[in-house]
Point group: D2
Chain length 444, copies 4
Amino acid sequence: MLSPLFATEAMSAIFSDRARLQAMLDFEAALARAEAAVGLIPAAAADAIVRTCLADNFDLVVLGRETAQAGNPAIPMVKQLTALVANVDAPAARFVHWGATSQDAMDTGLALQLRAGLASIEADLQKLSADLATLAKHHAKTPMIGRTLLQQAVPVTFGLKAAGWLSAVERSRTRIAEASGVACVLQFGGAAGTLASLGERGLDVAAELAKVLALDLPDLPWHSHRDRLVDMAAALGLLVGTLGKIAHDIALLMQTEVGEAAEPAGPGRGGSSTMPHKRNPIGCAVALAAAQRVPQLVATLLAAMPQEHERGLGGWHAEWDTIPEIFLLASGALRQMVDAVAGLTIDPARMGENLEATRGLIMAEAVMMALGDHIGRLEAHDLVEAACRCAVEQDRHLRDVLAQDSAVTAHLSPDALDRLFAPAAYLGVAERFVQRVLAARKPR
Amino acid sequence: MLSPLFATEAMSAIFSDRARLQAMLDFEAALARAEAAVGLIPAAAADAIVRTCLADNFDLVVLGRETAQAGNPAIPMVKQLTALVANVDAPAARFVHWGATSQDAMDTGLALQLRAGLASIEADLQKLSADLATLAKHHAKTPMIGRTLLQQAVPVTFGLKAAGWLSAVERSRTRIAEASGVACVLQFGGAAGTLASLGERGLDVAAELAKVLALDLPDLPWHSHRDRLVDMAAALGLLVGTLGKIAHDIALLMQTEVGEAAEPAGPGRGGSSTMPHKRNPIGCAVALAAAQRVPQLVATLLAAMPQEHERGLGGWHAEWDTIPEIFLLASGALRQMVDAVAGLTIDPARMGENLEATRGLIMAEAVMMALGDHIGRLEAHDLVEAACRCAVEQDRHLRDVLAQDSAVTAHLSPDALDRLFAPAAYLGVAERFVQRVLAARKPR
Amino acid sequence: MLSPLFATEAMSAIFSDRARLQAMLDFEAALARAEAAVGLIPAAAADAIVRTCLADNFDLVVLGRETAQAGNPAIPMVKQLTALVANVDAPAARFVHWGATSQDAMDTGLALQLRAGLASIEADLQKLSADLATLAKHHAKTPMIGRTLLQQAVPVTFGLKAAGWLSAVERSRTRIAEASGVACVLQFGGAAGTLASLGERGLDVAAELAKVLALDLPDLPWHSHRDRLVDMAAALGLLVGTLGKIAHDIALLMQTEVGEAAEPAGPGRGGSSTMPHKRNPIGCAVALAAAQRVPQLVATLLAAMPQEHERGLGGWHAEWDTIPEIFLLASGALRQMVDAVAGLTIDPARMGENLEATRGLIMAEAVMMALGDHIGRLEAHDLVEAACRCAVEQDRHLRDVLAQDSAVTAHLSPDALDRLFAPAAYLGVAERFVQRVLAARKPR
Amino acid sequence: MLSPLFATEAMSAIFSDRARLQAMLDFEAALARAEAAVGLIPAAAADAIVRTCLADNFDLVVLGRETAQAGNPAIPMVKQLTALVANVDAPAARFVHWGATSQDAMDTGLALQLRAGLASIEADLQKLSADLATLAKHHAKTPMIGRTLLQQAVPVTFGLKAAGWLSAVERSRTRIAEASGVACVLQFGGAAGTLASLGERGLDVAAELAKVLALDLPDLPWHSHRDRLVDMAAALGLLVGTLGKIAHDIALLMQTEVGEAAEPAGPGRGGSSTMPHKRNPIGCAVALAAAQRVPQLVATLLAAMPQEHERGLGGWHAEWDTIPEIFLLASGALRQMVDAVAGLTIDPARMGENLEATRGLIMAEAVMMALGDHIGRLEAHDLVEAACRCAVEQDRHLRDVLAQDSAVTAHLSPDALDRLFAPAAYLGVAERFVQRVLAARKPR
């Protein structure tokens, strides 16, 4: 693909056309097995069906063409499968897809794909979480400037920033695990959700089928209730949002004029076709692009929820490519942030320089709080605000301006003032916040 | 408001300008109380602050004007509060907003509003759940046609449809309760999340503050990590999607040509300015409108997640009106569906007529399964499909067409055929599905 | 693809990876030609470059891999192209991509793809427009019931409905043509939009380049101003919305209980894997799915507009797959509606039956207007509304109820009443509206 | 409102509840006038109706309550209007809303509001355009660094940046003017778009009505074809995207570490509740918030387009608050950017310092092009890339590194090298691009 918003290879494989077909075939094989187990169809027929349910036996090009005609891929899949089974065991062909509907095969197949996709994401999340924990721990005392609304505010530590990233990543892991339990369940209801085609045996087959596929058995079929899937998509949306937040921070720190952190470089990575000096934040660009695309894909699924009666017209179809796309984009953004965090270059010296760039302005709050003890918070705010304006206009250090104001010196000695202008002494409980996040992290 | 997409009065009150102000004042009062409790500020000062923290003391018009200047409502609120406290207890004014930042007041205030908003929603959800349970139970054996892609498919029961709605509503209740725990937490970090302004005492104040407000204390401040809020918004998005699904089903059943169910009518409700005979599905229109609007509002929040460094520029601001809007729309849609379900008119006779409308076509699957036992599923499918075409072209009952086909009569006796054309005998395990849903429902 | 949301083959070819590469190569070839024309590079070098700019000369797999590293496809394309030119004419290789930047090649390449894509869409739009015009003309007098909020309202004609579709399709054609002029322009600015790498000759090259490619030359490069592309995407979004409207109407008319119109059927088309009698509105499902997906893709592009400085970080990247997806989905939805409209089955008899289904209620407005002449509109409204309720409750024809009301018979004779209950006599200026639309249609 | 995403006062007035009511009343008054003009109703009745159509005569609270019951605001408006007319002229009351439907009043009323809203936006756009033109002209030769993917790239001018903004703003003006012509048209179709209630006179009344309101008369009513409105919303979406682009650039330039430009400051503007030194980009935050919200609101409208038959169920309702919200957000963002641009502080000295910050790296392309003349573009690229790495690693000026490389000095003299490192000499045709944009600007 000539687009670098690249999914991981693992995820691309999980959501390939071939894998989509195989997942539906896994449903058909399990269905045959389950129906044989409860005595609905002959064991020999089940065996023949199971043996035939391999994607390699199928012609994907023909399937694609017939899908466009039939309106969904399960219909021609069942047709081809029946023909293939008939080739090896004619009587067995009678029992292919017995009692099921297209959506049973498609939704259950999707549940199997989701399970694999989520496992792949969890693996990368574990790596990201571990690396962020290392960063947070290592830089728990590395001072840097905090920035609000893109203006220098007061000092923080890089460890605190990393702990914030880590805490959000951990919440995503929890959320995705919860959503996985809701979404990765069996779909089996027959034509309109009654399993009428199986008479009295519907629930027995359903229970056995769930067991074979190791999927939970829901209360009832959910053909036109799609909240299970959308919940999971929203969980991935939250993850991508958090990855976008990390990417945004890194890209901003990597600006030429800031220079406090940088994505790993490498041969052929992040260059320009015309500017030899360029080193672009490619990983961040990919993650930020995903963070701009996935929210709307989640909205597509949410908006498609009011599906008609027992099977949706258009709403269901809108899901088919949207859900895979979310997984592909999420996997790409995640892998980029795994790599970016693992190879992140931190420049504590530059962080120190930037802390000095405003000539003391960033310690204005510290002075205000110290003065506030004596003259009240709001009065101190106004006094220091005026001093800041004066320092900027006269291009002086804020400390020097304040040192000449008797309203300040009445309460703060020169030594006290000096101490107030040490960024590393104004970090509050940043380190304890980092510890709390590290302590709460479950290695899983 | 000249728009019927009306929020409930309760929700409108929770998210009014006045309530937004009061919630911030509740934060300021609790902060003073907490700081007095840990000995940071005098108890008398805290008392004066607490007493002054009433929205009625404030001038909302001035606040609104100054908000536009300052860039957020907390700044002028703190200014007015300080002045008001100074009026009653000059020294106490020194300690207003001690050590906090604007976003602490705004986010914690929002958490308090969310808690109230979610309680209001849960109350309506309990009513909706109970009424749906009653419907599902009462109509567990009421046959109606199932419809897929807006075409008549095979018989279901109205109880099964109601059980599907109920099951989704119950999942929403669970999901919202989970999200509530994540979103309704304290925000307290000071200027950039270190609580530096409180020196060593930051965490003590935070813990006490959380206790006073009965909110959970998070690992660390989350000024620019917004997943907590977006998770909750997504949970409401799922609820609104489910309400839209219910509304869509009801509106389709209420079509003149279908007529199987109807929203409650009433004087002045659902009429037309020009057509005296009209009875419009007003509640469904409102719920469906919400189901079209809320997904994009959720997407707005998801897309706003990558907020810059320690406080966002634009992303944070994009949340301010979006979150209330989601609650307002959700409350309106929910109340409409509560009323629609509570007063739903069901017409089992019309359901019965519609089951006969296709002259037997809807029993085609039943015949196919019965024949399939003898000649295989796919062969039976093709045979019955041809019979269906014949029945449509010749305008005959499918039973009559089949009864003249020796390939059919070879396996099915006239009596067997008759039994296959009784919709009520082809309901599979619909009733057991209903029972499973009812059994799983937690009254809460 | 195992998804029936299939783009047309033409559009798939236009937006394939290979075509994306060829479009960039077309830019490089034209650039060499233009630079030779103004004397910046040797004519022989240009010839060698032009001859080499064929996608078939390239290794797409390697390109894909290196794209992921480099961050965009133009960088490895230029690298491969330079190597390939060097093979045939070493000195010429010096002048490959002379003075251009990656985005110049990518955006201009995209403009070429857009031009082809829009031409393909216009071709299908012409067919759709012509077929809708035929339908509107043919059924200008075919009465059917108008429906508002899914309730029967008053009579309309099928020709009026088709004219409404046609009028919207024509507006789309106009809108797309306008947007095409804005979007299909040259992008050529060099590294940051100054063309500094070409010294004084930048504008000369730009003008010549535009001429070679037959693209308009914009005022200045637009690397980080994306409104041109988004405007065109929005124009396609409007088209897809209109196609969705047509599909929604057809699908609703095709409901088993309505049965007034139907998509064309065909072997293997719109069946069910389990229900032999099903004939599903597959084309409508595809168009409705597109109408649910494209709006969010447009929103993605709109939200990605605030791109940073001279080249965006993430926002630009978010466009790369989104724009092709919009074209693919639009082409698929359009082709489906072309086919659906061309083969649409209309059932005027069923339309007639449905006009009688309410036993006169749909003529309530007609009676009200006639009575209103005598007793005022609102009084007449209330009187007829009461009569409607009575007719429904007593299961009588509205005419019979009214005929026994002296307040009615005082003003309307039995004959007058009868005339008021003829749907075909209550069509207002429907036919003239149809004529106006047909007259305004430009064949183009 | 305690939210600074404030609409202008003018726009808030145009979309207030009172204005929505008045716009519907303007429709009713014009309808009466038109019907009197063609002789359908008595002139005296029309006079009485026209005189009564003043919002001040109505009880908005009652209207709001009844709207929620009726399902739209036109129904209770017509009811109150009829009663009010009856008070002053009983016979005239008969002719209120004669032949119209609710949506006629609502949509035409909306068209009147849109016309006023768009005029207000055009007024601010003229100011923005003029101020941008001044900036572009004034700074046509002010060099600054161009930045791509947030990394320093090559020099540009601030005038070029401003010209880029201006060019996009001008495209928005053109686009909005076009969309205005499509959206601001009459809606008049009666119950289902046939004007049957007016018999043969429907088109005469429609033509007269359009004349009275100075609105264009469309081919046919467009009750359920909403592309006209969505087109206009998309045009505003493009404008807001462009405003977001401008805001993003300014906010990035205003970063403490960049400091090249700044929003105007002022008392109480852009401060912090806790940090006395802060000066936040408030206007940019508001515009960026709008740029995050409006795209999804446009998507809501696009997705709501497939409305059912002759009047939508939910889709239409989803528009009611969405369209005003887009106007309000657009007006607020626009006004903020008008103010930000009018008062923008530019710091050419800081721009100069930042041009030197990389110690020559930003001139790498200039060197490559000069060398490329001798050794080919790609070879020069690789050579200079290596020199850049060397300069960074050894913390030396790129010029000094190159001056010691014989592969360079073989082709470039020390003087030539010096000239290549003058940013102001490497601006290409930037100035001519600025002139082109200024020349193309229509003052309007």
